[in-house]
Symmetry: C2
């Protein structure tokens, strides 16, 4: 799995360092440290040690722990954006596309889950400008990609409203709500616990659809005490 | 507003330092710094400077920036727990109680909003044990209160399922989903922007009810293109 991520990361970034670049390995190691121990509690020197680099060589790739974190954000959001495009490309009926998209968001390796945990735990840092040019450039790329994803979601949801598949609503607020509910999973979910990713997917896809106002029959299995569509005063 | 918060904090903690304790002022100042600049980017010395204390005097109250953060969590969660009790105390019909509770969660001062932003941005630190006894004690208190709130929510939602007001579901997952959606607001909402807290409340209370499977008529104003109860394949 880790090897697969390395390959993807190299292809994505088109690193000028060539095929022997340590960049993917550093990013993977950093995700493992940040995801397991927390960003705050991870020492940059420990990552250098794990990948077998001195501080000068490491500096060639990343100026600081924060710079590395911004690059993790930027790469993850790039992958997220590409997945969004792939899953919504056919331009057909909104409803099935929404269901496909939400299900696709849970197609994750253990390392992806760990990366998502890092992203949500450290999302706030993206908002604060940095003085270092390298840090600031990486931060701006990450922030632009995040906004790009939010914009793509809002446009997609607007299409659903236009088709009458979901109720009219502020598309930006609805984007915040759906992505907020999705992202909230990574604050507490740990692989290997009592719940599989499929359990999580089944529960949360249904709830995201409910937030959008698009209710599938599949989200209301037979035998429940109350119908999901129940209305009360 | 700040003065009001001071009073509440003193009453809550019953500080042994007496009425001239600087503790509430330090907490408020820390919330303002953490909420505005981010925890990571706030210097502990700046908080000391703002409240007019030297490092020795400050140490009397909090051992470190992290210790202070844990205490902010602990106090906020205590207040949250008390509010939960107050809003669900009457033990009547589940539906109206859920609506009242969710609406109550948005009764917030600007400082409360800032505090919520700190809580969600730094929620992850609560999970990692500390070596310092003072830090660790505060961390454990905060973590226990967070679990206590989640347990209270799960019990409350179970009551709703028992009454047939919402569909049967895993109460812990449903708690995660509703609280996750609620908390997600504080990752991006800023007072004084284009949206008032009432706008946010109106939108998010309805979506939290949808997640629970409890749909009010009020959440579907007339004139929308599609009904919220629409079902599609």
């Amino acid at each position: 799995m880790a090897k697969n991520v390395h390959t993807q990361a190299t292809q994505r970034t088109g690193s000028p360092d060539g095929s022997r670049s340590k960049r993917p390995e550093i990013l993977t190691t950093a995700i493992e440290h940040f995801g397991r121990d927390g960003y705050e509690y991870t020492k940059w020197a420990d990552i250098a040690h794990d990948v077998g680099l001195g501080s000068t060589a490491l500096y060639h790739y990343f100026e600081s722990k924060l710079h590395c974190l911004f690059e993790i954000h930027a790469e993850a959001l790039q992958a997220e954006r590409e997945r969004f495009e792939r899953l919504t490309a056919d331009g057909g009926d909104f409803g099935p596309a929404l269901v496909r998209l939400l299900n696709g968001l849970f197609d994750l390796s253990d390392l992806d889950v760990l990366r998502n945990r890092v992203l949500v735990a450290e999302e706030g840092v993206i908002a604060v400008p940095r003085k270092s040019p390298r840090e600031e450039e990486a931060r701006r790329v990450a922030r632009a990609r995040m906004r790009d994803i939010e914009f793509a979601w809002a446009a997609f949801l607007t299409r659903g409203m236009e088709q009458g598949a979901i109720p009219e609503a502020d598309p930006r607020l609805l984007t915040h709500a759906i992505l907020g509910l999705y992202k909230s999973v990574w604050h507490w979910y740990r692989p290997g616990g009592g719940l599989s990713l499929d359990d999580i997917r089944e529960f949360f896809v249904g709830r995201c659809l409910a937030v959008a106002g698009y209710l599938q029959p599949a989200s209301v299995p037979a035998g429940r005490k109350a119908r999901t569509t129940r209305r009360a005063a």
